[in-house]
């Protein structure tokens, strides 16, 4: 777990990519991490072909949830919204590149859950429980 706090994770935490809101969001969602009460919001702008053009995330939280969300925004730009709806936990695990302890899994998966909720249009399951 200590290995988790690597420089590139801390960099995403301290300098989150695509942070903020989208005025012209096509879909949005916001969800809470029951473990700590942290909330993440995702705004997506989707073009007519169904491709994600822009993403912004917002919220306050731990390094794991923030860095995971930040990396995730980079992963989904250019993806069809349908594909976002079907993302599995693996996208997060590959992004962060290192084992996450079970107790922190919800932190790591929160951003993905919010993203999938926005893409599906109704509350997505926890990706680690699917």
């Amino acid at each position: 777990m200590e290995d988790f706090y690597r420089d590139y994770i801390l960099d995403h935490y301290r300098n989150p990519r695509n942070f903020g809101h989208l005025e012209n969001a096509t879909v949005s969602a916001e969800e809470l991490n029951p473990l700590c009460g942290d909330v993440i919001r995702m705004d997506l702008q989707v073009d007519d072909a169904g491709i994600v053009r822009e993403v912004r995330f917002s919220g306050k939280g731990c390094a794991i949830s923030q860095a995971s969300a930040s990396m995730l925004t980079e992963s989904v730009i250019g993806m069809p919204l349908e594909a976002v709806a079907k993302l599995s936990k693996d996208v997060v695990l590959e992004n962060v590149g290192i084992g996450i302890s079970p107790t922190r899994m919800k932190c790591a998966m929160l951003g993905l859950r919010v993203l999938k909720t926005a893409a599906i249009g109704s509350l997505a399951a926890w990706p680690d429980e699917e």
Binding site: L35, S101, P102, T103
Partner: protein, 414 residues
């Protein structure tokens, strides 16, 4: 599940340390009161010990190693118990016992849905725990109680069932009766209750220990049961509820753990099952409950059922020898319809005196009204003695019971 080799009751008995100890009078323990509470195998006792020695920690919100291990074991136990009755883990709420589980339904579902004049249908042989919560719900709401009648052997009379179900909001019924051991024909009752639009609650306190239970096949809405009657520790039970009901129902107990967000004035609740679990759970005992159902599944519910039928049949045979001295067995006579329970009286000797004399021979039976006072009154029994059998009982236990009863008959000059 495939069993390479069936175990014998003697082998099973060796897994239960309590049988290794003689009673205060130096007699072997002949435990015939499993319907009240079962004995525990070593593996269940060990699960508690390991939890407290290795990874005791509060669950769900802890980040550190032992909290992670405790949370995982706790939720894994939920999944095991859920699988044991064929439901999803998200449909299984931990409670203290069957009684709390039934109260949960009566308060949370009942207060929200039952109106004045509604009918709550029970049977005449229910345990107090499946009667009093409904009486109190009826008092709170103005609902009325109806009862499916029983005949003189304690068997349900289903002739008028559709009339009784007419306008019925809730049917709550024991899977297996605890005084006479009667196995109820739920497959003939539940479909008719569903057709009548009633919510179906099953008191499974004597069901899960003895019968393979599949809540999906039963098609009930709620199923309540107790760990302590099925090899698990005291202090833990469970309530199965259909997911959609658990989602729409308001919570019951409130406080820590069952919330999503809390403000000074307003609160939103967690998803089921946690929505119904307030405060620190009985973590250790829930984990041990998971070990208990694994033990039962490993022995095989089919084997247990056959074994109980064997013992019940043997006991019925042996007890007939005492008929000339006034021994009367109540309830149905066919072991196919009995869940390992025999209620009886010995002449005019009070059941308490019978039980006290049996105790001097190391034989543990229950005596009294068995928390079914209305049934006793209806049948005209002042009290009965009750012997109940489980996987660790043997034919020798029955032999000791019979000779202890002979002693009682001698003392009372029958």
């Amino acid at each position: 599940m495939i069993h390479v080799r069936e175990r014998t009751a003697q082998e099973i008995r060796a897994d239960f340390p309590i049988f290794a100890r003689p009673t205060g009078r130096g007699k072997p323990l002949v435990y015939l009161d499993s319907a009240a509470t079962s004995q525990k195998p070593q593996s269940v006792i060990d699960a508690l010990d390991t939890y407290y020695r290795e990874y005791n920690a509060n669950i769900h919100r802890g980040v550190y190693e032992i909290a992670a291990r405790a949370t995982e074991a706790f939720e894994a136990a939920r999944a095991r118990v859920a699988r044991f009755i064929n439901c999803a883990p998200g449909e299984l709420i931990w409670t203290r016992n069957t009684t709390e589980a039934i109260n949960l339904v009566a308060y949370a579902w009942g207060n929200a849905n039952v109106r004045a004049g509604d009918v709550i249908l029970l049977t005449e042989l229910e345990h107090h725990s499946n009667l009093v919560p409904w009486q109190l719900l009826a008092q709170r709401t103005g609902a009325v109680l109806r009862f499916i009648p029983i005949d003189e052997r304690g068997v349900l009379v289903l002739d008028g069932l559709d009339r009784l179900l007419d306008g019925c909001t809730i049917l709550s019924i024991a899977h297996v009766g605890n005084t006479l051991g009667t196995i109820q024909p739920l497959d003939r009752i539940i479909p008719r209750a569903r057709a009548a639009g009633a919510l179906v609650v099953v008191d499974g306190a004597q069901g899960t220990p003895h019968l393979p239970v599949d809540v999906a096949a039963l098609d009930c809405d709620f199923y309540a049961f107790s760990g302590h009657k099925m090899l698990a520790p005291t202090g833990v039970g469970a309530l199965y509820g259909k997911r959609s009901l658990l989602e729409s129902m308001p919570p019951f107990l409130s406080g820590g753990d069952m919330i999503r967000t809390v403000g000074y004035e307003r609160t939103t609740f967690n998803e089921p099952p946690w929505k119904f679990e307030a405060g620190t759970s009985n973590i250790a005992d829930a984990i041990a409950f998971g070990v208990a159902v694994d033990y039962l599944a490993d022995v095989g519910l089919g084997w247990i059922r056959e074994h109980e039928k064997r013992i019940t049949r043997y006991a019925l045979e042996r007890l007939t020898a005492l008929a000339p001295r006034g021994l009367v067995v109540y309830g149905p006579r066919d072991p196919e319809h009995i869940g390992g329970v025999l209620s009886f009286n010995l002449g005019d000797v009070h059941a308490h005196d019978v039980a006290s004399i049996l105790d001097t021979e190391g034989v543990c039976v229950r005596a009294g009204h068995h928390c079914t006072m209305p049934l006793m009154e209806k049948m005209g029994w002042h009290a009965t003695a009750r012997a109940s059998f489980y996987l660790y009982n043997t034919e020798e236990d029955v032999d000791t019971l019979v000779s202890a009863l002979e002693k009682a008959a001698r003392i009372f000059k029958l």
